[in-house]
């Protein structure tokens, strides 16, 4: 499985959140937006930001785990969570530059995107609807990935200025 990465074009995101539904149906068996590994933030209507793991080259989350519950899938470069070992301390969420991991509503276990083993469901439904806000590319590991692990509210602040000009600066405080 060659190393893959999910490209995110925020301005194409329509806010339909089908990625959340496809992901939770795949991993949890039913529609559970808050248990989806990709969550769409909308700090202001129209400024939607899909938030998911960027597989940083130095994996700060894996390093920070006190019980070694996180590992890396050599093929897809995805972070894999061992749910038995995870104690729900939240260290990985704090270590992540974009606070991407979160504790599962059901059992407070760390929840991180595993790239569906190489064929992400979120990308499929996004492409099916023609938005292409999420695109799969076959690219090797790079230091730039980590820059995409950003707090979605900061991303939204930038997008707001691009969409609305000066008015954008007042919309997300």
């Amino acid at each position: 499985m060659s190393s893959i990465w999910i490209v995110r074009d925020y301005e194409n995101c329509s806010g339909c959140r089908r990625c959340e539904l496809a992901c939770s149906m795949h991993h949890e068996g039913w529609m559970w937006p808050e248990a989806s590994r990709i969550r769409v933030f909308m700090p202001f209507p129209g400024v939607e930001v899909p938030h998911l793991c960027a597989q940083c080259d130095d994996y700060p989350c894996v390093e920070s785990c006190p019980v070694e519950a996180l590992s890396v899938d050599g093929g897809t470069t995805a972070v894999i969570v061992d749910e038995e070992t995870c104690i729900g301390c939240g260290a990985c969420a704090k270590a992540c530059p974009g606070t991407v991991p979160y504790l599962h509503p059901r059992d407070r276990k760390a929840t991180i995107c595993d790239l569906c083993g190489g064929d992400p469901e979120c990308v499929k439904v996004c492409r099916e609807a023609g938005y292409n806000a999420l695109r799969l590319v076959h690219e090797g590991m790079s230091g730039h990935r980590k820059l995409f692990a950003r707090n979605p509210v900061d991303v939204a602040k930038d997008l707001a200025v691009k969409f609305f000009g000066e008015k954008g600066e007042e919309l997300i405080v």
Binding site: S14, M31, Y102
Partner: protein, 622 residues
């Protein structure tokens, strides 16, 4: 055991006593009324009963329902339904709007909220996984829509993060709220969402204002409720989306191109308070909005791939910074051609203003247009307005809408809605009401949606509004008392979007409903039993009406006088609504639903539809 698609619990909030209870409704009631529009009417009756005619909608005792339905969030196009005794029609309206609040409250474990009483200080309800609580909203009272949303987003996210800091990032909550119009109890004010969505019909913004309730906010982290047949539901979910994705025109243009074609092609667009319905202003075509203003061309609500919405932003000139959706056709018409305005930028500004003030984008401008026609007919003078109103002048309508929202000068009268304003102004000016009602384009007090009946080329015909239990509501028009029962009545009770319903085979939608709820629900049963039950209940409440207003059967079951004046321009010049056809089809409609010739439900029908509890009150109407 809770039927599929339901969280199984509803919140009952008494704002006077600051008491919040959890209630449940039996499977039978849910199967009979489903949710949203249907369930709200039933709960309203259960709470008020035979004292309904004496209940003033803006009285603290008047309940306000904010309900989802079993299919909300699961079927594409998730929406919320707001209802109760309407301060406009004195009946009930299932007023829906798309908002993430709908799926968030289901994820928090509740299907809806019923508010009664009145809070002593402005509050907002916060619903989370751990239950509901009333929060102080003093600092939000008086803010316009945009600022309310911005502040609430920040405040609620911060509060949730404080409570559970290490679960990772908290997403922003879903919310519905009111603007200044709702706070000042403008009778046809709207309940707003996502800065430019609105539960516009019914005036429930005024209801929230009368309860000092600024907003209802929800953030849940649970799954959407379990369904009866998950595998079938998943397949139907994929199939429905495939169909919706194939509809390229609707996805590309939304309703944003209709501001030109409804006028130019079907001659059914309101122009200068419906004095005309045809125009061919190329400057108002879709591309004139798209290229200069649309900053996002595919904007969707939860679980929807029709993405009929677009975001417009004015980036230069006097109204720099205005943001709204597209505007959608209704506001292109009512905040545009109805004012005699054909400039996209002015239309976007007035639509954004209506959203900020919390007006209903249809009802508010209808009243404003009515006022300017009265000035045109010399009934209202410059002094009433404090300036000289002119058709086609954006500032005129900007000032009138602000005056209405703040109830200043003539605005205070206009804030009562077109029908009551007509009566009041007749009184003020010493004229007979009919002389003013001639220009009031409403049915049962509800200002008519932007689809006229005179050209007969649009989807709205003779009795669309006349027989409608929700009056001028263009999203729920009547046809023949059978086919239309599975239309908006169903979508407003299962609470999902009309645009993701029309175009999808109805059999597939009802299979989906069955897969979700497990009820014995199908197209025929809905058209012959469940639909008629809800509409008959609504009809009864509407005709009971009161306290300040009662509709006379037959006489008020009619189009506004203007819809019988011949069209003055366009390809359908001279055509008008056929009164003979209206009377015939109205009689057939009443017969089909088992109502007498005056449209009052008969005793047998009430019993057949398990509405026996209405007999005592309805008998007085016969």
């Amino acid at each position: 055991m809770t039927p599929g698609g339901y969280a199984g619990k509803w919140l009952d909030v008494d704002l006077s006593k600051d008491k919040i209870r959890e209630v449940e409704y039996g499977d039978k009631v849910l199967e009979q009324y489903l949710g949203g529009r249907g369930l709200a009417a039933k709960v309203l009756w259960d709470k008020v009963g035979d004292k309904y005619p004496e209940l003033d909608p803006l009285d603290p005792k008047s309940p306000l329902m904010v309900y989802t339905g079993p299919m909300t969030g699961i079927y594409p196009g998730s929406r919320i339904c707001v209802s109760g005794k309407s301060p406009v029609s004195m009946g009930t309206v299932g007023s829906t709007a798309a908002t993430e609040f709908a799926n968030e409250i289901k994820e928090a474990g509740y299907d809806g909220v019923t508010f009664t009483g009145k809070a002593d200080r402005p509050v907002y309800l916060l619903v989370t996984d751990d239950g509901a609580e009333l929060m102080d909203a003093g600092h939000l009272w008086g803010l316009d829509g945009e600022k309310t949303l911005i502040k609430l987003n920040k405040e609620v996210t911060a509060e949730l993060t404080k409570r559970k800091p290490n679960v990772g990032l908290w997403k922003d909550p879903g919310m519905v709220y009111i603007g200044p119009a709702g706070e000042n109890m403008v009778r046809n004010a709207a309940v707003m969402a996502k800065i430019c969505h609105a539960c516009g019909y019914g005036g429930y913004g005024a209801l929230m204002g009368s309860k000092n309730l600024k907003a209802v906010v929800a953030k849940g982290r649970g799954p959407l409720p379990k369904v009866d047949a998950p595998e079938a539901a998943k397949l139907l979910w994929r199939r429905t989306h495939q169909i919706l994705i194939g509809r390229t025109a609707m996805r590309r243009q939304g309703t944003g191109y209709a501001g030109y074609s409804v006028g130019a092609v079907t001659s059914s667009e309101p122009i200068r308070n419906w004095q005309e319905e045809w125009h061919d202003e190329k400057s108002y075509g879709g591309p004139m909005f798209e290229h200069r203003y649309w900053v996002k061309k595919k904007w969707a609500d939860f679980n929807c791939t029709t993405n009929c919405m677009k975001i417009s932003c004015i980036k230069t000139g006097k109204w720099k910074g205005d943001i709204t959706d597209m505007p959608d056709y209704e506001l292109q018409a009512y905040c545009g051609t109805n004012f005699g305005i054909y400039d996209p930028e002015a239309n976007i500004h007035l639509s954004a203003l209506a959203d900020q003030l919390g007006h209903s984008g249809i009802n508010g401008p209808n009243t404003a247009g009515f006022a300017v026609e009265l000035h045109q007919r010399d009934i209202l003078k410059d002094s009433d307005f404090g300036f000289k109103p002119k058709w086609g002048d954006p500032d005129t309508f900007d000032r009138i809408m602000r005056m209405m929202a703040n109830r200043e000068k003539i605005g205070d009268v206009l804030a009562e809605g077109t029908y009551r304003a007509a009566l009041k102004i007749a009184e003020m000016k010493g004229l007979k009401p009919d002389e003013l009602l001639k220009y009031a384009v409403h049915v049962k007090g509800i200002e008519i949606g932007a689809h006229g009946t005179r050209s007969d080329a649009d989807y709205t015909h003779d009795i669309s509004y006349a027989a409608n239990v929700q009056g001028g509501d263009h999203t729920s028009t009547s046809v023949d008392g059978y086919n239309d029962m599975s239309g908006a009545v169903f979508t407003d009770s299962a609470v999902f979007c009309n645009f993701t319903y029309y175009g999808v085979p109805q059999s597939l939608v009802f299979d989906f409903a069955k897969a979700i709820t497990g009820f014995d629900i199908n197209l025929h049963k809905w058209r012959s039993e469940t639909g008629p039950r809800i509409v008959t209940l609504q009809r009864a409440l509407l005709m009971l009406g009161g306290p300040d207003l009662k509709w006379t059967p037959v006489k008020d079951d009619d189009n506004p006088p203007r819809f019988y004046e011949p069209l003055p321009s366009g390809p359908y010049k001279g055509k008008t609504t056929d009164r003979k056809l209206v009377d015939e089809k109205l009689k057939a409609y009443n017969e089909t639903l088992g109502w007498d010739e005056r449209g009052i439900p008969t005793k047998e029908t009430l019993k057949k539809l398990d509405l026996g509890f209405l007999e005592k009150s309805v008998s007085k109407l016969r």
